[in-house]
Symmetry: C2
Subunit: 232 residues, 2 copies
């Protein structure tokens, strides 16, 4: 099954622009059955009526609302120095089931801006590729101090490599079916001061294991654990 994006799902749609190119890259032809989502939970089944230069006409035969997942994983993501490392973090955590990405500016964050449209596009294509009908949300970066005051009713964890304090294994800590907030630090990790502030705000310090992982790998590992625990 290949999944394509369609912002407005109606009975008959004219497809142009990016989705047109995406369909063309899949060599679709007249009378092919195709699947669309709007990224907000709708799954539409359509039939290609006509393929023209620069546009394709599709009849939508059926529209279903797909059930949202029971619980969510919010990733407080580091902004990495190298653009492509952040791109990968986003692509992979989307594949693995992240619900929302909140970029955070911490003490050791070097780059404090993101290319939001670029990352939204990566989220869109990674969602389509991994057949997700709800595209995860991403926002502009916020400060760590603000982030730790967010979603306070949710179970939240901060992944930390330092050995100054006792940490639980994230794998043992995470329970199935619960919402989880996960803080991942930038290159060079969080400062102990930041971790203490997080703890003060009810966030649990956790470890992802004994191996030294890069930031983007830590994010991917935390989402893999979320997927395993929730049988995704």
């Amino acid at each position: 099954m290949d999944l394509f994006y369609l912002e407005n799902i109606r009975d008959r749609v004219v497809i142009e622009g990016e989705t047109y190119k995406h369909l063309r890259a899949h060599h679709i032809k007249t009378r092919d059955k195709i699947f669309f989502t709007n990224g907000k939970g709708l799954l539409a089944t359509g039939k290609i009526v006509e393929c023209m230069k620069q546009k394709i006409i599709v009849d939508v035969l059926e529209v279903k609302t797909m059930p949202p997942r029971d619980n969510k994983a919010i990733l407080y993501t580091p902004i990495l120095k190298q653009t492509e490392r952040l791109d990968w973090l986003v692509e992979k955590t989307v594949e693995l089931g992240v619900s929302e990405l909140i970029p955070i500016i911490t003490e050791r964050t070097i780059k404090t801006t993101i290319k939001l449209t670029r990352l939204q596009n990566i989220i869109k294509y990674s969602s389509l590729q991994s057949l997700k009908f709800y595209f995860p949300h991403i926002c502009e970066p916020i400060f760590f101090e603000e982030a730790i005051k967010n979603n306070i009713k949710m179970k939240r964890t901060i992944c930390y490599c330092g050995t100054e304090l006792e940490k639980t294994q994230f794998f043992d800590f995470l329970q199935p079916k619960e919402d989880i907030g996960i803080f991942i630090g930038p290159e060079g990790d969080f400062t102990i001061d930041e971790v203490n502030k997080a703890i003060y705000n009810g966030i649990i310090p956790v470890s992802l294991g004994k191996q030294r992982l890069r930031s983007e790998t830590a994010a991917i590992v935390s989402l893999t654990i979320f997927a395993i625990k929730n049988n995704l």
Copy 2:
């Protein structure tokens, strides 16, 4: 701790070339204490004697042989169409503790060659970055039919997305402390014919979960599971 590469560990060493650049990038200076490995289990502690243009002189103060890990994970890795996706697969699986990488040519493999030196370099730097004293081995690609006749005394699994046959969850199947061989398919997966051949050769078909993952993500997820199970 930062770790650097040194092929021949002796009492006094003159460092040039790539390791010289690597040290320079870390802004080391005279009298700094540094750590080296030869990638074959040795950990050397050295002291910078002199920093010159294009070379650095180091006195090695102590050499230890680090214990190898008890069990290994051999990844039969797909050769991905896009070079950077294979680069990432290699970098990340090394971070997560892969012991050996064997690229395989399968029915749906489009690109059948790899850049061995480039990948060995990625392995080296990923090992150093994640503090690994044994660099994983990688070889030139071999055919799938040959690969399934390899390491037959080892527990081996083939990750497969198709639904024609019953599969065990890799997470439930893998036990701590055992050697494991993991086959990951290329874009478009293995063919059912290949999976049947694998089964005939004693390889167990497994699933990595219900989500549709890209090949490189599947490889990273399988190694994450290996790391969790072995408490790495």
